[in-house]
């Protein structure tokens, strides 16, 4: 049950993370999630800035991953979240889970993302052709927590 938590400005390599996750011979499943800066429907997105609460982010992510490891039988778990300025199509977040069976991997990956979206202290500000806007929290992200209760 190894756990890697990284909060960093620089980009990350999904390929490298996957290679680490697949090492455990007892694990037959690796699920990865990668979140990317996607274009907006309402305005041209020039980029975004990710603010965070240094120190608390790492703790929050560790707690979420530990909770996942208590709920499901998991091998390695890796969470990476970027901060600072990101351009369209850049990578924002990575969650990777290795597990013996696929159901645990899919569930744990989605659980971690759902909790990260609601509990980890990161804030996005979008830079668009019509101005800068702090992103509003989504009701759908809060609703996503319900099914894990």
């Amino acid at each position: 049950m190894t756990l890697r938590i990284q909060v960093q400005q620089q980009d990350f390599s999904v390929a490298s993370e996957y290679e680490l996750l697949r090492q455990d011979a007892r694990c037959g499943a690796v699920v990865t999630f990668t979140g990317l800066v996607r274009e907006l429907a309402e305005a041209e997105l020039l980029g975004m800035t990710l603010e965070h609460y240094p120190g608390m982010t790492e703790q929050a992510l560790t707690q979420i991953a530990t909770e996942a490891q208590q709920r499901w039988q998991l091998g390695a778990v890796s969470i990476i979240h970027r901060i600072g300025t990101l351009l369209p199509n850049e990578q924002i977040v990575f969650v990777g889970v290795a597990s013996a069976h696929r159901a645990a991997g899919f569930a744990a990956g989605e659980f971690i993302m759902d909790y990260l979206k609601n509990r980890a202290p990161f804030w996005k500000k979008e830079h668009t052709s019509s101005g800068e806007y702090w992103v509003a929290a989504k009701v759908s992200d809060q609703a996503a927590l319900k099914r894990w209760e």
């Binding site: 608390m56 929050a60 804030w123 929290a137």
Partner: protein
């Protein structure tokens, strides 16, 4: 001393990233600290009287009813939007 931090839109609106409050000998909740801060000015009142604000004590997400003590790190911020 109580260390108080603000983040993201709240930090920008208050034009303040962090402040301190002397609460020696007082038994306060995070909500009571928030009310003290809000009473400082109409501007702060306006931006701190937001039912949606989240609160962390010593880097743990807690309810506003959570107690705080001198030496603690208390943070207020809008709902998070990472990921």
């Amino acid at each position: 001393m109580l260390k108080i931090l603000f983040f993201a839109a709240l930090r920008e609106r208050l034009a303040c990233a962090n402040t301190t409050l002397d609460i020696t000998g007082q038994h306060l909740t995070a909500r009571e600290v928030l009310n003290k801060l809000a009473s400082q000015s109409a501007h702060w009142q306006q931006h701190l009287a937001n039912a949606e604000l989240l609160c962390a004590v010593n880097q743990q997400l807690v309810d506003l009813s959570h107690p705080v003590a001198a030496g603690d790190e208390l943070a207020f911020f809008p709902p998070v939007t990472g990921g």
